[in-house]
Amino acid sequence: MNAALESRPDRQSRLAYRASLSLRAVSVSRAGRRVLAGVTFDLSPGEAIILKGANGSGKTTLLRAIAGFLPAENGAIEVQSGESTRSSASDRRACIAYCGHADAVKAPMTVRENLSFWARLYGAPERRIAEALASFALQALADTHAGALSAGQRRRLGLARLVIAAKPIWLLDEPTSSMDAASSARLVALIENHRREGGAVLIATHDRIEIEGARNFVLEALETA
């Protein structure tokens, strides 16, 4: 699978630029309550971080803060790309693709229609739709209505957005939920390929996911003084 992906000539040119992410003493509050404090780490091109933590420990909050949906109360979230440093939420988004719990899939539209809508939003060329279908083995389902897909197939379609977006930094929230082993393996292959191209990946998950050379982080309650 991996080899097949790499043999495609256009795949090498997919990632136009590299970017690294850095968090410095970031704290985030929700509904007037501080959820995260002092979060500091770096994610460089080619790296992968797997973020674990109990339910409610703030994994989704952290990912959404990095993606720019939630404001960071303190600290800095920066994306470095080439010479430029992007610290505002809207600037960061240019380098980040976020896949949350929800797949953003519209049930009354076909798989291909969903993908081509995203391609319009991300300003991606048409050929990426075929790439996205191939990456998640969705070719046979291309003209099926998304409402008829199984939960795992729908998840694959949701993640196929990563191929369309072609952003250097991926933020994945529970990407393998309701996926079978073969699909998980396909996702891992895609992540490996993305890293080889210089992309970076941050995954929040409960599931076991084997990614070579990934760093493991845990979100857990701080000792309160």
Partner: protein
């Protein structure tokens, strides 16, 4: 310094003299206003004693707009500078303003019965007042509907500000609508001019209503500040940090 006032005790200590003055003035002005309004002002040559409804109606109508203005200004301050005290002031103003609006509607309707022969006439001012009442309801409803108080404050501020810029247009459209559908209304309320002897109780009552607003606003703000702190304490969950495994 102003940030500290979001603490309920400090807020109470700081505004207590102000609140006591406002409450005392409210009582005095109300008493004087009622006295002059009921006993020391003439009856209207056309409307008779019913003109005395004016002393409760006109200040209520004025305060319905004044409260909304205060609410909108506080909303802008809260929206721009994200200060909790401004959010709380805006929120606390809304029910007071809604009650003034309801009072204006009810007294207007009571006044309408002898004047127009009907409890309700789609008079332009009454209609605008009714629409204003619905805007208040919407503002209060969004506060009620959103659990997260910080988000509720921002959304409610949007409602207040959008309502504020729309009120003149709504008022204009209702005036236009009313002039198009001239009904059987005969009298211009209050007559062409108001006699000086009527102005005194009117001004006393306007002053009294303003003090009532201030006197009600302070405890409402204090309650809201305390409620927020309790909610914050109840929600005290763990704070998470990241560490490598």
């Amino acid at each position: 310094m102003i940030a500290d006032l979001a603490n309920p005790e400090r807020f109470e200590r700081f505004v207590k003299p102000f609140w006591l003055t406002a409450s005392a003035l409210a009582v005095i002005l109300l008493a004087l206003g009622f006295y002059f309004g009921l006993f020391h002002s003439p009856a209207d040559y056309q409307q008779g004693d019913t003109v005395r409804i004016m002393y409760v109606h006109v200040p209520a109508a004025m305060m319905s707009m004044a409260c909304y203005t205060a609410m909108a200004v506080a909303s802008i301050v809260g929206f721009v500078w994200k200060h909790p005290l401004a959010d709380v002031a805006a929120k606390a103003s809304a029910p007071i303003g809604a009650v003034f609006t309801a009072l204006a509607l009810v007294t207007g309707s009571l006044w309408g019965k002898p004047m127009w022969g009907a409890w309700w006439v789609w008079d332009a001012r009454l209609t605008s007042e009714l629409i204003l009442f619905f805007i208040y309801i919407g503002y209060i409803a969004i506060w009620e509907a959103v659990d997260d108080k910080i988000r509720a404050a921002r959304l409610a501020a949007i409602v207040a500000i959008v309502g504020f810029v729309n009120i003149p247009i709504i008022k204009f459209s209702v005036d236009w609508w009313n002039s198009l559908h001239q009904g059987e209304s005969i009298f211009r309320r209050g007559g062409p001019t108001i006699d000086g002897s009527m102005l005194l109780p009117l001004f006393l009552m306007i002053g009294a209503y303003m003090m009532v607003y201030a006197a009600l606003l302070v405890p409402a703000m204090k309650n809201e500040l305390s409620a927020r702190r309790i909610a914050r304490l109840e929600r005290m969950g763990g704070v998470s940090g990241v560490r490598p495994e």
